[in-house]
Symmetry: C2
Subunit: 191 residues, 2 copies
Amino acid sequence: MKKSLGAKTLGAVPVWVVGSYDHAGKPNVMTVAWAGICCSKPPCITISLRKATYTYGSIVARKAFTVSVPSEAHVKEADYFGLVSGKTVDKFAVSGLTPVKSDLVDAPYVAEFPLVIECKLLHSFDIGLHTMFVGEIMDVKAEQDVLGADGSLDVQKMNPIILGAGSMQYLKLGGVIGQAFEVGRGEGKSG
Amino acid sequence: MKKSLGAKTLGAVPVWVVGSYDHAGKPNVMTVAWAGICCSKPPCITISLRKATYTYGSIVARKAFTVSVPSEAHVKEADYFGLVSGKTVDKFAVSGLTPVKSDLVDAPYVAEFPLVIECKLLHSFDIGLHTMFVGEIMDVKAEQDVLGADGSLDVQKMNPIILGAGSMQYLKLGGVIGQAFEVGRGEGKSG
């Protein structure tokens, strides 16, 4: 018997750091967890922001953003990036992290984070308090030490941060459960 | 120095099972990982589906869907739900799992999964190969054993499945890294 918890946003979702340039060209970062992959062709991600954020105006003006995926080692910086506004603070300067100008889109990413996704703004949808930005992925760049032997991303090595929306805890990944599009193949065939 | 991986959909994203009724009222489920929370007010989630899926037409017609969040214990069923089409298979019957009619929206959910999110279709956005459905959350229901002492969702107890997009592995959650909106408070104040 399930218990009603009310109309709430609950689940285990990714913690992503969105990079953008403001009107003066100052690099800024903010942390989002209302975000995800949203299309395979063209490859796209979506991030949701409140219009009140400093990043909102920057993305609208520059038509670009990046996502830098923090690993556990940078949880303090990632959390900090969601606590203060780029309107009043230079978050790169305070955190000591390094902005890198993307060579593909008009936005900066975080040098120290293991994975970065460079996006051109494709769509903007007003949903309510949050606006969904859909960005087309122009490239993904990763540090060598989060790649597997075949050169593809090893998500476990990346050691990303997951937000438990509900308890609002940052969680790490544990072990492998199984291979997608494989572990369910026998289902319904043995009985 | 980062290595370019190309324009790909990579990251650690949630594994959700979408429930819907077809034209004949047959309950169906499909697994998605292109999905996430997208707005706080009204509380909304987004799921991305290809138009070719059987679920696509059901959601458009019924203007509703559910998300049932599988735990590790049901990884085989969750994977299976993404391997076959409800057009030709009764996935509930084959898997032995139980469809429950939502009392709030015109869609079924999976009784055996610990968390369910009941949504009315709010928007549909064609991005490319995938269409983003935005659903307004009407209620979230959870099993008692995934709730903390204060009655709120404990994501660790829920033991959800995360997809490592890249290696395409199902991963489990590990331990708590820290509290959101808290661990970064000291940042920039000590130096």
